[in-house]
Symmetry: C2
Subunit: 246 residues, 2 copies
């Protein structure tokens, strides 16, 4: 066996190994590129109240970005009604109620500082990037316009995958639409569900504080770095090994 | 000198020292006893937008509970306009705009789980407690009714002290209305401004997650313990050395 090991510099240089492409980015949407988390939180509280469920706002906030099914399981546990389950019909009803409270708030939602500039910079520098969101396409599409992004830009939504975060499907699909290996992708998100899904996808997770989680919560969920918002990330791309000039 | 030291058990027993009373509680209001933080956050965002200032929601959240003057200083720094200052008139205008957005939301605000039970339990057990809030009396008074508290119960608001949190004035006054030494008070709050003000008042700070801050943020700000919400605190009073039976 040992005779096969490289012994000299010349030996080392002669060995072949895959040369990875420049890293690509897969972005979460709500709380990462657009400032929509608190509107989602309040809309969920109102939807739950419509069906007679009173839940503290912070507990809803900590569940934003999870798949709808897991969200409902978490809600039941908080209510100490873990034995009970929501029927599919009730889950569907709650999603519709949430949408009815959330959609009127869409006009007031703004891109996060630096989001437009970050995406434009990556495009100019030839660094591939996609969006992968637990939200539905109907809610996500208007955000592309706010972000001044081509409506045809690669984006994966809840409609196109079997399981939402923290399952890895969305980020695996977000890498696939770029024709990149997940291991070569940097996943940027604001929630611990993003970090868990990134880890399970084999990608590197980077956290943003702009969704309202604390720095330590994201680091505990294996964020490699945590930045304040897209602007702060854009100013520190070198820390992620991104070589493009600014 | 050394001859004065107690040498025997009898010596020790004969020494006198002040015997403190049972500890008292001083409670923050928003995010600690009532679930109002996110409504405050959104109302501040709307007020700032009214005067042409766009600020991310999470940055507002992290400033809730501070004095109005410090809040405004922080807003200007976030906008990278640290050189500029708000005039007193502008600060007053923003407070009025905030109130105009917040007050219509008051009816939807609920007590946090266990808040009524915690306050009722302390009263029954003869443990003194007061409320000390950075908010104005006009906004705080309706919350007492929601909490099923006597409108005459000791409460200190922004109107009655010179400086709001994180200056210690509110918690010093909250101890004084109970005729207790601050060092004998447990201050319960949801924000790092509560923990800083508690520390400066010489009281013990205890954090609640119900305002949306992360556990580690509160611990870093010297929370002695962190509980989920008033219900969780009520279930763990023994951990704070409170001897009352439940």
């Amino acid at each position: 066996m040992e005779e096969n090991y490289a012994k000299t510099e010349e030996d080392v240089m002669s060995r072949t190994f895959p040369t990875p492409d420049q890293a690509a980015f897969v972005f979460d949407l709500d709380g990462t590129l657009v400032d929509s988390v608190y509107q989602h939180v309040i809309s969920w509280q109102e939807a739950l109240r419509d069906v007679g469920i009173e839940l503290s706002v912070w507990r809803i906030h900590r569940k934003i970005g999870m798949s709808g099914g897991l969200f409902m399981q978490g809600v039941l546990r908080e209510l100490r009604e873990a034995g009970r389950e929501f029927t599919d019909q009730e889950v569907e009803q709650l999603h519709n109620l949430h949408a009815s409270h959330y959609l009127p708030r869409v006009p007031e939602i703004q891109p996060l500082p630096g989001a437009r500039e970050l995406l434009a910079h990556l495009s100019e520098a030839g660094i591939p990037w996609s969006i992968a969101t637990s939200g539905r396409r109907v809610g996500a599409a208007p955000m592309l316009e706010k972000l001044e992004v081509d409506p045809q830009h690669p984006m994966v939504t809840r409609d196109e995958v079997k399981r939402a975060k923290p399952d890895p499907d969305l980020f695996l699909a977000g890498a696939a639409v770029l024709d990149m290996a997940p291991s070569n992708c940097i996943v940027v998100g604001d929630s611990i569900w993003d970090m868990l899904a990134a880890r399970r996808a084999g990608a590197l997770g980077v956290g943003l504080l702009s969704g309202g989680y604390g720095e330590n919560e994201l680091e505990r969920a294996h964020a490699f770095r945590v930045y304040a918002d897209p602007w702060d990330l854009l100013s520190h791309l070198d820390e992620l090994g991104i070589r493009a000039e600014r």
